[in-house]
């Protein structure tokens, strides 16, 4: 590990840790210590500031050289009939290397955030949608409807950057923007306007969202509803919301699929997106799927362009074979269908592999601790701290460049996975 007492300051640094990938961070690096000194929030601070602890790879808990660890990892994958490459939290090149390794070894690829991602991907593959991106929201939104999600918990700077920005391109008084929550109420007050106008909250239980959204879509389409109440919400309030959506010039309907943890939430997300399509027969309205923290949007993008399919694709038959249910890595491991796991988690020390009896290789961020020591642990650098890279934002159109901020000597995920592939 290179030691240096020089203090370096980096400006306009992009964060891969949160799906909105703010790229206005100022970061100070002193030796191996990284501090977010401007525009940080709880998520970016934790992401950037988590310290390096272990730098030596381990086999069964014993420190070994990188070469030995790579050879052992290759042995495990080689001996496996149905390997799984899970987690996949890395930058583009790390994910590319994971795809190449999977193709060569007949592995199944899956992301640590697949449960959340597929609530959206299944909609995309079944009926499609109309969506928008963050800069459009920043400059155009006049009505923001937040469905089933508490945005600020996972995206602390969403309102600051996308809603309460002082200036916008099209002469809008941004402080007059309407914010309405349907489902969960906000946990903080970042959704309150600069004038002190609090967001309107139409609260209902997550499990009632399927019914509420069906009724809302019906109202948008002018259908007559006999009931006066739906899941505790009055029809008057829902009718009023439908009318506001129809009157808005550029409404944005945001949801974070990660927060919508009820059975078949994808069907509710589909209902919502079909409603957005209906609204666009006369006005403009767009969906904003929020997600994509720690590289998860990068996973489905790279997997799709290299294999044709998003994650939960198996290469076991020699060609890509996609099934969002059969190739859920958690159930494959739990059911004993997979007999080895390569877990890639280069951003967040808390994202450790699922418990499994299958021999496990962890390509993980330094500082990760385990309840069950994996067969092989190789600490790697963090994309955007220890090496350069690129990462997709949650809105998917934009990929941000990640910079190398310090010289830790830790290898990248790409280096390690490519070396394992070479060693097979």
């Amino acid at each position: 590990m290179a030691e240096s007492n020089d203090v370096c300051v980096f400006h306009e640094v992009a964060s891969p840790f949160c799906g909105i990938a703010s790229d206005d961070l100022t970061i100070e690096v002193s030796g191996q210590t990284v501090s977010v000194i401007e525009n940080g929030d709880a998520i970016t601070k934790k992401g950037f500031e988590t310290q390096i602890t272990d730098t030596e790879p381990r086999i069964d808990g014993q420190e070994v050289s990188l070469e030995e660890a790579i050879a052992k990892a290759a042995d495990i994958v080689n001996a496996s009939q149905q390997p799984v490459i899970g987690g996949m939290a890395s930058d583009i090149n790390g994910i590319r290397a994971a795809m190449a390794l999977a193709d060569k070894t007949g592995a199944t690829v899956d992301s640590m955030d697949s449960d959340s991602a597929f609530r959206n991907l299944l909609v995309l593959q079944d009926t499609g949608w109309m969506t928008t991106t963050l800069t459009e929201v920043r400059n155009r939104v006049d009505l923001l409807l937040v469905v089933g999600s508490d945005i600020e918990a996972d995206y602390p700077r969403f309102y600051e950057r996308m809603v309460w920005n002082e200036v916008s391109l099209f002469d809008q008084d941004t402080s007059s923007r309407d914010v309405i929550y349907l489902g969960k109420a906000p946990s903080g007050d970042t959704s309150t306007s600069p004038n002190g106008q609090k967001a309107q909250v139409l609260a209902c239980d997550d499990n009632d969202l399927p019914e509420v959204l069906s009724v809302l879509r019906a109202l948008v389409n002018g259908k007559v509803i006999q009931a006066e109440q739906v899941s505790g919400l009055t029809l008057v309030d829902l009718s009023d919301l439908a009318e506001k959506l129809k009157q808005a010039a550029y409404s944005v309907v945001a949801w974070a699929s990660g927060s919508m943890q009820f059975d078949h939430a994808e069907v509710s997300i589909q209902m919502l997106n079909e409603m957005i399509k209906d609204l666009n027969e006369t006005t403009r309205s767009s969906g904003l799927p929020l997600g994509g923290k720690e590289g998860s949007t990068s996973v489905y993008n790279v997997s799709s362009w290299q294999s044709g399919y998003p994650m939960r694709t198996s290469f076991n038959r020699g060609y890509p074979d996609y099934d969002p249910y059969l190739f859920d890595s958690k159930s494959m491991l739990a059911n004993g269908e997979a007999d080895s796991l390569v877990w890639v988690s280069s951003f967040n020390v808390d994202r450790t592999p699922p418990e499994t009896g299958a021999p496990t290789v962890v390509i993980g961020r330094s500082g990760m601790t385990f309840d069950q020591e994996p067969a092989v642990f190789i600490p790697v650098g963090v994309p955007g701290i220890d090496h350069a890279g690129r990462s997709f934002r949650g809105d998917s159109s934009v990929a941000v460049p990640l910079r190398k901020l310090r010289d830790s000597g830790l290898p990248s995920t790409f280096d390690v996975l490519s070396a394992i592939e070479q060693a097979l």
Partner: protein, 555 residues
């Protein structure tokens, strides 16, 4: 390493060589003059074979956000066309929207050595280049999309002088790592965000008061004055709208002699005659192309079957969503720069409209008389997947084959077209112009598409066959930068092509305006928006080739 290709029948329109027996010498990836005394390391006998430069697809959607949405949303289309891994090749799949690796292998196996992504949003250029980086063998590059971006329209509304516009265009080309500029439904993608549902050539954008005609003029001038060899690449107004031929004719004459490339012209050549209120405008459009030497076109031929349409033109894609097959579609507004729309589509030979679209494309090919100004495309995958090019070449070269197929199409469509009476058959020389020499000239590739000294040794060798589809499906050999990559129609070596770009000069003062603009209005910083040369080189297998500029005009 000196390689001699002996005795082939060379067709190289760049030198006016039409089927002349000769030898080619290759050293260090380049074609060289016959050496006087050097030792030949390898000689390949090509006697009797047809030898052309590698083919160039000057308009093919192979990388970027909308293509990847198409891939992601069509698992059922891939499932019928999976490709197993081999010792040499990664696995892949995809018929309409193939995986990047498979696309590269398949292009090479058809004798193509370059493909250009025609619609790169500046903000999405990073993704487009990353996908093209994962596309093996072929060279690549792209045209950056302007014309619905807020910054340009704002400059125009403020009546900024042409030099300022040129600066912005040059800055965008440079930092998107592009080789040309494209405009899609000029101003229309932007107007859709203000809920305008159509935008004709002289119709004003509701916010800026700017018309598509103004945008075309400004951008065509900028490209010309900057000396960018590829003329402004135009996807015009009113794509797919019956009667749009009037707008197209007006666009052609309205550009007042500036160089302009009109892409997938087939989709813009529709009249409103007949019982179906849908007719061919190909004859009038072809006549205008023939008369206006500043105009080039590619056809965007449709072929029957399942495909997917992926376009920056979300205004028109949204308008056409009811035709989605299967019934799913995507429309996106993107970053106050542009948008995209993805609509799966099945062209049916018993549909009057689809049958006539097929005929309109072929009429255009056959009625435009200068093969240096018309290019062979299906607007992959919008009209059909690129893998159908050999079939399309046969349609152009074989009148009997063409008329046989035509006789099986919707009867009233047959009656509405004069195609059956068109005698023309393309020659191999004309095919070589359209797909090699002409395409290289159009894109501005100084060292490709030709077989003369100094050119990159991108060479395709065919066995002449009565069935031209067979001939063009399986070349005997393909050489990429001098390396044999295909033998007997099969890939034998995987190499990685270069990325072609141009780097027009600009005055750096443009960043004094752009930086605060990004800071105030965008969600990404100007510095992070730019794509460095290192990003193209990436893990080491990428490279940049900077193509020379023409003598530009005033800047």
């Amino acid at each position: 390493m000196l390689t001699k290709l002996t005795g082939g029948r060379i067709i190289d329109p760049s030198q006016g060589i039409n089927d002349k027996v000769g030898d080619l010498y290759i050293q260090d990836g380049r074609i060289i003059d016959p050496p006087s005394d050097a030792k030949i390391d390898e000689e390949i006998n090509l006697r009797g074979k047809i030898v052309m430069a590698g083919a160039i697809d000057m308009h093919t959607h192979i990388g970027g956000g909308k293509v990847n949405i198409a891939r992601t949303m069509l698992p059922e289309d891939h499932a019928a066309d999976v490709i197993a891994r081999t010792e040499l090749m990664r696995s892949g799949c995809g018929h309409a929207a193939p995986s990047t690796l498979s696309a590269g292998y398949r292009y090479a196996e058809m004798g193509y050595t370059a493909g250009f992504e025609p619609a790169i949003l500046p903000v999405n250029a990073r993704q487009a280049h990353m996908e093209m980086h994962d596309t093996p063998i072929i060279d690549k590059g792209g045209y950056v999309m302007l014309g619905s971006d807020d910054f340009l329209l704002r400059m125009m509304a403020a009546n900024k002088d042409q030099e300022a516009i040129n600066n912005y265009v040059a800055w965008t080309i440079t930092h998107s790592q592009a080789v040309g500029v494209k405009v899609v439904n000029p101003g229309g993608i932007n107007a859709f965000k203000f809920n305008q549902r159509k935008l004709d050539l002289d119709e004003e954008n509701a916010y800026y008061g700017i018309t598509p005609r103004d945008i075309l003029h400004r951008l065509a001038r900028a490209v010309n004055e900057l000396g960018v060899p590829h003329p402004l690449h135009v996807h015009g107004c009113n794509l797919g709208v019956p009667g749009n031929m009037g707008t197209t004719l007006d666009t052609i004459t309205g550009i007042e002699g500036l160089p302009m490339h009109m892409t997938h012209i087939q989709f813009h050549s529709y009249g409103i005659e007949g019982d179906f209120k849908f007719s061919s405008g190909a004859a009038e459009i072809a006549e205008a192309i023939n008369a206006n030497k500043n105009i080039t076109v590619d056809v965007g031929q449709i072929l029957f079957g399942q495909t997917v349409t992926a376009s920056g033109d979300n205004m028109r894609q949204h308008a056409g969503h009811s035709h989605a097959h299967p019934n799913k579609w995507v429309s996106m507004d993107i970053e106050c720069e542009a948008g995209c729309g993805v609509v799966p589509f099945k062209y049916k030979d018993q549909s009057y409209v689809n049958a006539l679209q097929w005929m309109i494309g072929l009429e255009t090919f056959l009625l435009v008389d200068d093969p240096w100004r018309i290019f062979l495309t299906t607007d992959h995958p919008n009209g059909a997947p690129f893998t159908s090019y050999p079939h399309l070449i046969r349609l152009l070269m074989d009148k009997t084959f063409r008329n046989d197929i035509m006789s099986r199409l919707h009867p009233e469509a047959q009656a509405a077209s004069h195609l059956a009476s068109v005698e023309r058959e393309y020659s191999l020389y004309e095919i070589a112009i359209m797909t090699r020499a002409g395409a290289a000239k159009l894109v501005g590739l100084s060292d490709r598409g030709r077989l003369s000294k100094g050119a990159a040794a991108d060479i395709t060798v065919y066995t002449e066959h009565e069935d031209k589809e067979k001939m063009f499906s399986k070349p005997d050999y393909v050489f990429k930068d001098g390396q044999m990559v295909v033998k007997d129609g099969n890939l034998i070596h995987v190499s990685w092509g270069t990325t072609h770009v141009v780097k027009p000069d600009y005055d750096e003062s443009i960043e004094k305006e752009l930086k605060p603009y990004f800071d105030r209005f965008h969600t990404m910083k100007m510095g992070n928006h730019k794509i460095s040369d290192d990003e193209i080189i990436d893990d080491g297998r990428g490279s940049l080739t900077v193509q020379p500029l023409h003598a530009g005009g005033p800047i």
